[in-house]
């Protein structure tokens, strides 16, 4: 089979459609997912094809419809809840943290919560401070849930199936600048795991650890570094909870230098957690301080040039890497 040209958005749509068509317990609900076709047009056309039982518009109440999703999951359904963006997920944080993550434990295993929550994350489209958060690192703090960050077409296409098969609540963060990304998808791959990190580029001079929307900026940085003779290894974490520390440590043991690239803020972040895990498990492998490239610690600016300046960029990632690699 030859690779097909496809967008990230279309991958998400096909994943939802396939899940609903192959499992009668699966349905999608969320704000504007039906008649409007989704805030990012991911579900466009699905209401017409699959009907109102499977594609359900909800009131503007995140707490209510996430809670309904938890209840449906406990009752045996396999709901996919779409929260328009992670910025609004804070209204449902109580449901996610206090119910979804805890009920399987507090019920002594009597209730599983096989719920999947999808949401858009990240900045870069001039949506200003209230609509540009990267909160996946916060959710990765919570035991009892899984946190995924599909960056590639392949993961966008196949992670949902693995998430629905998982008995735990799974949160999927789709970076909003990725929806328009177009590329080739290998049709022979029909499933992916949701526990491992993947090496997206091989190199021996420095490890760049990233995920989600920052992956392609990091790959661009690696290409620039290669022109300077610095071969960077790029790791796509894919899952922020659980963290595949073993893959990171194996790479650091080879390159002995690491820069973590994360669109979240530095303070108390997933990048801090990754750095600390490296120190705990690979301190004596390090030949340079651990570097980080994160978003500036400001509410995300609206102005395009300020927004771009606040975000990790290929040039800042490459500069951070160069500062840690000694003269050849």
């Amino acid at each position: 089979m030859t690779p097909v040209r496809i967008t990230y958005r279309e991958c998400c749509r096909q994943a939802i459609r396939e899940a609903i068509l192959t499992d009668p317990r699966v349905f999608l609900m969320g704000e504007d997912v039906g008649r409007y076709g989704g805030c990012y047009a991911v579900t466009k056309g699905l209401l017409e094809e699959l009907g109102e039982d499977r594609i359900r518009d909800t009131p503007l109440s995140e707490s209510a419809f996430v809670g309904a999703g938890i209840g449906a999951a406990m009752a045996g359904m396999r709901p996919i809840v779409e929260i328009m963006t992670c910025n609004f997920s804070l209204l449902a944080l109580d449901q996610i943290l206090n119910n979804a993550a805890t009920i399987p434990h507090m019920s002594g295993g009597q209730f599983a919560v096989p719920l999947v929550i999808r949401m858009a994350t990240g900045a870069g489209r001039q949506l200003a401070a209230q609509h540009s958060h990267s909160l996946e690192g916060w959710y990765a703090h919570i035991p009892g849930i899984k946190v995924l960050a599909p960056a590639t077409l392949e993961d966008a296409r196949h992670m949902l199936k693995a998430a629905l098969a998982d008995p735990n609540p799974v949160l999927i963060f789709e970076h909003m600048v990725l929806y328009n990304m177009e590329g080739e998808l290998d049709p022979t791959i029909e499933a992916v795991d949701i526990a491992s990190a993947k090496v997206r580029r091989r190199g021996q001079d420095i490890t760049l650890v990233t995920y989600g929307g920052s992956l392609f900026k990091t790959l661009d940085a690696a290409a620039a570094l290669a022109q300077d003779g610095i071969e960077a290894e790029v790791i796509d974490l894919r899952s922020l909870r659980p963290l595949d520390v073993a893959t990171v440590v194996a790479s650091v043991a080879k390159t002995r230098r690491v820069v973590i690239v994360d669109e979240g803020w530095k303070s108390g972040s997933i990048s801090a957690e990754i750095g600390m895990r490296i120190v705990e498990e690979a301190f004596f492998e390090l030949d340079a301080p651990i570097g980080r490239v994160c978003s500036a610690e400001v509410p995300m600016p609206y102005a395009a040039h300020l927004e771009q300046a606040a975000l990790p960029q290929p040039a800042t990632i490459a500069a951070a890497a160069r500062s840690l690699v000694g003269p050849a």
């Binding site: 492998e285 390090l286 030949d287 340079a288 840690l324 000694g326 003269p327």
Partner: protein, 417 residues
């Protein structure tokens, strides 16, 4: 019983490597005897002992690098019984090698311990003061964890490594390069890691000078001094001397400075713990440029009491030993002021940087002929630019000016020096 400890040969010294013992256990030592040679950032230094007694037990072997303050040997006072060996009895320490012969290379698979062996003195003795290793900031070797582990495996001396990594850190690549360099280096005549290391000295100078400029509020004074009388007298004095004993202007400069300091003692000593401590004598630190680069300023002890001939001999001896090794520890620690003289190939004026904890440095530029007003008319005179950089915490400009005026006055009467 007392301890002979690794001395501090300057505020910037954190540790030293023992090169060789010049005394054996059982040898009687007098105050001032040279008992050991220690390698530092300033090269190999002969270490004197300041207590008479009998060398008892050797605690640090050649090749070992230990922090300042570490007990290197124990010393019995004269007549005291030998300390009983601790139980279980240990084999007596190996006799040190003959001073003339290099000590053997320690086998590479036995790296010297990173932590000095702990010495437990008898209970009635005051504890040996062992400074916390690496407690003082700034001088700790900046090295990556991977490089440190590799260096330990290779028994490399971290203090001798130059870092090329982030912020000058020693990286794994630096360790591998140093290991290759060690293997390919010609066999040294002395113990491992011994010899003048320009990079290490550079770092020592950098640390001392940066500290000086950071901490010491310098004030600067300069004065031009007519040397016609001094040089005329010198020429006459040298007429009957063999070339090896001829006096140079430097001897006059040292003597005049030393004598002048008697009148302005607050420029002769140290600034320590927010107070001035006068020097116990006038020990001029004579700045000597080394051929490999670098600088050292060992002491001419009691320069105000030495004759010009003695001073000249001392200058020649110091320069010789500074360039070939063999300076004594007291010569490094005792200077109460520094004098720098640029000589015939130097610049006209030098404004020095004080070597802490000293409080002053006197500079003499190159002797040049200048138009000079004499009795209302112009004459050509050999002159020298005389300068003082002094610590404003310890003295004020008025006193500094008095010192320069007194040096000038003394140089006008060379026959009295």
């Amino acid at each position: 019983m007392s301890a002979f400890v690794m001395p501090s040969l300057g505020a910037d010294m954190e540790a030293g490597t023992l090169v060789e013992w010049l005394k054996r256990p059982g040898d009687r030592v007098e105050r001032g005897d040279v008992v050991a040679v220690v390698d530092t950032q300033k090269g190999a230094i002969e270490i004197e002992i300041f207590e008479a007694g009998v060398l008892d037990r050797i605690l640090v072997q050649p090749g070992e690098k230990v922090p300042v303050g570490t007990a290197m040997a124990t010393l019995r006072s004269n007549g005291a019984a030998q300390e009983p060996e601790p139980a279980p009895p240990q084999p007596p320490p190996e006799a040190p090698p003959e001073p003339e012969r290099p000590p053997p290379e320690p086998p590479p698979e036995v790296p010297p311990p990173e932590v000095p062996p702990e010495i437990t003195p008898p209970p009635e003795q005051p504890p040996v003061e062992v400074p916390e290793p690496e407690a003082k900031g700034g001088v700790r070797v900046r090295i990556s964890p991977a490089a440190r582990r590799r260096a330990a495996a290779l028994s490399l001396d971290l203090a001798r490594l130059r870092g090329t990594g982030p912020e000058g850190a020693v990286t794994l690549a630096d360790i591998e390069a140093a290991a290759v360099a060690r293997v390919s280096a010609p066999p040294s005549g002395r113990a491992p890691g011994v010899g003048f290391d320009p990079a290490a000295m550079r770092r020592a100078i950098a640390a001392a000078m940066a500290r000086s400029k950071r901490e010491i509020p310098h004030y600067y004074l300069t004065q031009t001094v007519d040397l016609r009388r001094a040089l005329t007298w010198l020429e006459a004095a040298n007429r009957d001397r063999p070339p090896t004993e001829r006096l140079l202007p430097a001897a006059l400069f040292v003597k005049a400075t030393a004598r002048a300091l008697r009148k302005v003692p607050e420029l002769n000593g140290f600034w320590e713990k927010d107070a001035f401590r006068p020097g116990a004598g006038i020990h001029i630190g004579w700045a000597i440029a080394l051929r490999g680069g670098g600088l050292i300023a060992p002491a001419i002890h009691d320069a105000d009491r030495k004759s010009l001939a003695e001073l000249m001999a001392a200058l020649r001896d110091l320069v010789q030993r500074a360039r070939t090794g063999g300076l004594k520890s007291s010569e490094l620690t005792d200077p109460t002021i520094t004098v720098t003289s640029l000589g015939e190939r130097g610049a006209e004026t030098v404004i020095g940087i004080i070597y802490p904890p000293q409080v002053a440095i006197v500079g003499f530029g190159r002797i040049v002929e200048h138009p000079w007003a004499v009795d209302g008319a112009l004459a050509v005179r050999p002159v020298v630019s005389l300068s003082l950089a002094a610590d404003h915490r310890a003295s004020d400009g008025h006193r500094g000016g008095l010192l320069l005026a007194e040096i000038e006055r003394l140089l006008q009467k060379p026959e009295a020096l």
